[in-house]
């Protein structure tokens, strides 16, 4: 329909650039010129037309295929059909040739729906083995020939012919093989002489085929020829000849192989396990046994033999040093040498678990504390986020206000260098954006970090904002500032944003490289336009985005000068991304500015002096 195609073309180009065509939907009165967003109008018209086209679709015409003549042979029984299906599905044992032979000799044909799979399987067989193809063609009957007419892959079904004498002189490898096989079945001696006569002139592939043919109807008279084949130049021929000869009972090869195998076999005996008896009250043994248990919990093998040896070593060390009983030093050294096999890491693990222990003490609430610590404690109580020494995993659902507040607290603490939580990636396979995973571990060093951070402010929020401002003032690279902006947005530090943005402005005015800004822009604009799950104020995001676009426009003409090929490709993609991003923002002035910049680039002039709007007050020229 021409009107549907017009709608599709208009949607490809975009309603920014073309007008929405008027379509005639059967049965629906067309409004003359509906007011409203052109994109929405186009989609509405497209919806009406889609349903109309789907419902009113006429049937097509097709050429029917010629019918086959009915096949007189009956199908095999359902059980046999199921077995064939399993074999074609790849289940061992692969007795396909036997099944087909049995079916053909009884005059049955294979079930029709399995024929395509059977013919595909027969096609994949190498051309030097046409028996399977012949059997498949026979078992398929007239249906197989009809199918072969439709699919060029299966022409072997119709092209096959019984080999006559001409096949030997004039035929290809497959036909020669067929002839030889038939001859071998009928007169093994004649076949052997034919092979012997043609042996020297044949290439390695053909010799392999000869050996295969000789495998049928094998007798001791074939032995001299096959023994000669054992010394052939081609490894494949030698291997095939050895296989065939090994199957021949009474052959010299079989006897030689039996002698060689007899020299290699012997019997093995097993060892019974030992038992350990322990008497309670022996500290050294108990400590080392606990250490072994710690190692086993971590999945490191520590057997009872290790423990026995380490006990002996500890006692020996104690005796050497003149001590009545092995002390902590001796026991640790014995554990290091025997249980941990010299590894410092494992020794540290044992030390931490057994010697140091892991339990966190608490301080009474009346202790004088820095105001920041007190604020943090209040927040922890309010948000039900207790500090613990063992790592704990939290999955926060950002749509809930409590979890959102927890996430913000953790990001603010991260800004203050109090790394209480680490974000986890991909803990649960999750398809929405509302889930955030954190692992929280409280270490005593964090208390010290908190005391250090208290110079920034007396509450967590104020301290984080002040710290953000100080980082912004001291930052040297633009990508640091862009990352800092993102962290401020995640931690919801609206007061710090103006200072950070001012720093971005100053920094960007001096730097030529705007690639980081361009890379960060699309995600920011998407969040501004469609909202994000954290509920960040879109106006604030919009401010940041507008600022970034301004910087990008100012710096772009210089950035695209003299790029090599890979950088050019990357820049092209970034320009595309920024282009669609600027289209999404509602700010018309921004879009115009961007289009002007692109026009300048397209004209290819030298980059002009930046216009007045690029200079913010206070920036150095």
């Amino acid at each position: 329909m021409s009107t549907w195609q017009d709608l599709v073309t208009a949607s490809l180009l975009g309603t920014e650039r073309t007008a929405v065509p008027l379509v005639a939907v059967p049965g629906v009165p067309t409004p003359a010129d509906a007011p409203g967003d052109p994109a929405a109008i186009l989609l509405d018209r497209a919806a009406l037309l889609t349903v109309a086209r789907r419902g009113g679709r006429p049937a097509e015409r097709a050429e029917p295929l010629p019918a086959t003549e009915p096949d007189p042979a009956p199908t095999v029984s359902p059980a046999a059909g199921r077995r064939l299906a399993r074999m074609l599905g790849g289940e061992p044992p692969d007795l396909l040739a036997e099944w087909l032979t049995a079916a053909v000799t009884r005059g049955r044909r294979a079930p029709a729906y399995l024929l395509p799979a059977l013919l595909d399987r027969a096609r994949r067989v190498t051309p030097a083995d046409p028996e399977l193809r012949l059997l498949a063609a026979k078992a398929g009957g007239s249906r197989a020939r009809w199918l072969a007419g439709l699919n060029p892959d299966w022409t072997f079904v119709t092209a096959h012919a019984r080999p006559g004498d001409d096949a030997w002189r004039l035929g290809d490898a497959g036909q020669r093989r067929g002839y030889l096989t038939a001859l071998r079945a009928h007169d093994p001696g004649a076949a052997r002489e034919l092979i012997a006569g043609n042996w020297d002139a044949a290439g390695p592939d053909e010799r392999v085929m000869f050996v295969n043919v000789m495998a049928g109807g094998l007798s001791l008279a074939d032995e001299p020829l096959l023994e000669a084949a054992l010394d052939d130049r081609s490894a494949w021929v030698r291997k095939m000849a050895a296989d065939v000869l090994a199957a021949l009972p009474g052959s010299a090869l079989a006897q030689r192989m039996a002698e060689r195998a007899g020299r290699c076999l012997r019997l093995d005996r097993g060892i019974r396990g030992t038992r350990l008896f322990r008497s309670p009250g022996q500290p050294v043994e108990r400590w080392l046994a606990k250490a072994a248990a710690v190692l086993r919990d971590e999945g490191i093998p520590a057997s009872s033999a290790h423990v026995i040896e380490s006990v002996r070593l500890a006692e020996a060390l104690a005796a050497l040093r003149g001590r009545p009983l092995a002390g902590l030093e001796e026991v640790t050294e014995a554990a290091r040498s025997v249980l941990c096999e010299g590894s410092d890491l494992l020794t540290a693990l044992i030390q931490r678990r057994l010697v140091v222990g892991e339990r966190l003490g608490t301080v009474p609430p009346a202790t004088p504390m820095v105001p920041l610590q007190r604020d943090l404690q209040d927040q922890q109580r309010h948000l039900r986020l207790r500090p613990g020494a063992e790592p704990r995993d939290y999955d926060l659902d950002l749509r809930k206000p409590n979890d959102l507040a927890r996430s913000r607290l953790l990001y603010r603490l991260a800004l203050l260098d109090v790394a209480w939580g680490t974000p986890l990636q991909g803990r649960t396979p999750n398809i929405g954006t509302f889930r955030e995973s954190w692992q929280l571990t409280w270490r005593p060093e964090l208390d010290l970090a908190l005391i250090e951070a208290s110079m920034w402010g007396s509450t967590v929020a104020a301290a984080a904002a002040q710290r953000a401002r100080s980082i912004a003032a001291g930052a040297t690279a633009l990508d640091e500032l862009t990352a800092l902006t993102e962290r401020c947005l995640l931690a919801d530090l609206g007061d710090a944003l103006p200072a950070v943005l001012a720093a971005v402005r100053d920094r960007a005015a001096l730097e030529v490289d705007v690639t980081h800004l361009m890379a960060a822009l699309p995600a920011l604009v998407r969040a501004a336009r469609y909202g994000d799950v954290r509920g960040t104020d879109p106006a604030r995001l919009g401010e940041v985005a507008v600022e970034m676009i301004t910087r990008v426009c100012a710096g772009l003409p210089a950035a695209v000068a003299s790029l090599d090929e890979t950088a050019e490709q990357a820049m092209r993609e970034r320009i595309d991304a920024v282009n669609s991003a600027t289209g999404l923002l509602a700010d018309g002035a921004c879009r115009d500015r961007w289009l002007d910049t692109l026009a300048v680039l397209a004209r290819g002039d030298d980059p002009p002096d930046p216009p007045a709007w690029a200079w913010a007050p206070g920036a150095r020229r």
């Binding site: 949607s11 975009g14 789907r54 749509r399």
Partner: protein, 446 residues
């Protein structure tokens, strides 16, 4: 002299091997279970009460694996580390029982089996008591429902804006966009608790790379999504059946218990026409099409299973099921759930329709539910080529086959130029043949 009283143990009726093997999640499990099902591997095994089996299997670990099976379920529990469900030990125990090698009169089950069985019985009793869907606290349920409606409304408004932005900027950009473009908006739909929309959006990611005509297909999908968003926004206007369809397409799913309680069961001899399995993320879906012999209604039964578990196998293609079905509410009631199956009978091939009849039926259904994109088709057709694979009927009409169905060689081989009865799904992109009946009346899944 008194005759000793014969102790009648109330053991559940024995299953047969085929039914047990059908529970296996994959073929290797079947093989291993068959090799494990010998008395030597099970030093302890017993059966008790209405459908409980337990056993200890000697495995490669030091302690034997303990397996308990509850036949009224069926539910399994085994201490082996296998992730498959049911594991090979449970299957082997069931096979042993099916062969009659598990003794019924060993006495009470051991403590580890008894505790699990009683806990399960308590849980089942508890859910059945709360079955009709009475929430424990109607106020929290009402608040949660309100919250969800609000989130869905905001999410749909966002989707509307996104669709208009796509059309405004031009669909040509979507060819370069990459999967992340649709995954982002689908993730936002998941945030808004509208999973039906999220699925449709993720499925769109492959359309720009699907060959000629991708722009038309993409525009169709966008237009129908916008139709859905607008329809949800104006949800006071449509009649209740259409509203139910709209809500279910957005992603509000009805609990099976509510459907069973609220609908009228339709009893009939339901012919099982066709079956198709889909795999999405971590869930496998089985779509089974049924048609009633007396009422002539078609029904679609969906069953789900996480990856690694076996799908529900009670409806076999080609048989008839004498059952009660309850339909989900909707403008075109297709989806149904089986309330109770009375009997399974052998089926005869269904009567095939003409292509004109199928298209007319689809058009009528589309008038009630514009988002319908799969309609059951039972046709008497001959495969043809136009030159793409197609089917044509006696009146000379033809329908193309769905490109996803491949070359359909088994269908061609079965027909060999003669008409066959084919059952499948009709979609706007073509017919997807699923089952065919050969001249002997035997059913062949395609």
């Amino acid at each position: 002299m008194s005759v000793s009283r014969v102790r009648v143990a109330t053991v559940a009726e024995r299953w047969d091997r085929v039914r047990v093997l059908a529970l296996a999640p994959d073929a290797p499990s079947q093989r291993v279970a068959q090799s494990l099902a010998s008395g030597r591997a099970w030093p302890l095994a017993g059966a008790a009460g209405p459908g409980a089996l337990w056993g200890e299997c000697r495995g490669s670990a030091v302690t034997p694996y303990r397996t308990v099976v509850d036949l009224t379920g069926p539910a399994y529990r085994c201490s082996c580390p296998s992730r498959k469900f049911p594991c090979k030990h449970a299957l082997a125990l069931l096979l042993l029982w099916a062969d009659g090698s598990v003794k019924d009169d060993v006495g009470e089950p051991p403590e580890w089996a008894a505790s699990w069985l009683t806990a399960r019985a308590a849980k089942v009793g508890h859910t059945q008591a709360g079955e009709p869907g009475e929430p424990k606290d109607p106020k929290t349920a009402a608040r949660r429902a309100e919250q969800r409606e609000a989130r869905v409304a905001t999410g749909l408004a966002e989707l509307d804006r996104w669709l208009c932005d796509q059309v405004r900027q031009g669909l040509a950009a979507s060819q370069r966009a990459g999967y992340g473009h649709w995954d982002d908006i689908a993730a936002r739909m998941v945030d808004a608790q509208a999973p039906g929309l999220a699925e449709r959006l993720r499925a769109l990611a492959s359309v720009p790379y699907s060959g000629a005509g991708w722009d038309g297909r993409l525009l169709e999908e966008y237009a129908l999504l916008r139709l859905l968003a607008v329809a949800y926004r104006r949800s006071a206007e449509p009649p209740p059946p259409l509203l139910a369809t709209i809500r279910s397409r957005v992603g509000f799913s009805l609990r099976q218990a509510d459907v069973l309680a609220g609908g009228q069961p339709v009893r009939d001899h339901w012919q099982v026409l066709a079956r198709r399995d889909l795999k999405q993320d971590r869930i496998r879906t089985r779509r089974t099409w049924l048609r009633g012999r007396k009422t002539g209604r078609t029904a679609l039964v969906l069953s789900f299973a996480p990856a690694g578990q076996a799908l529900d196998d009670t409806l076999t293609v080609g048989t008839d099921a004498d059952a009660d079905l309850v339909f989900y509410p909707g403008a075109v009631p297709l989806r149904a759930v089986v309330l109770g199956k009375h009997d399974a009978l052998d089926g005869s091939p269904p009567a095939g329709d003409t292509i004109a009849g199928l298209l007319a039926g689809y058009a009528a259904a589309l008038a009630a539910d514009p988002w319908l994109d799969s309609w059951p088709a039972v046709l008497e057709v001959t495969p043809a080529r136009s030159p793409a694979p197609a089917v044509s009927d006696a009146a000379g009409h033809a329908l193309p086959l769905h490109p996803g169905a491949g070359d359909c060689w088994p269908l061609f081989a079965l027909s060999a130029g003669h008409p066959v009865t084919v059952a499948g799904e009709w979609t706007p992109h073509g017919l997807w043949p699923l089952t065919a009946w050969d001249e002997g009346g035997r059913v062949v899944p395609l």
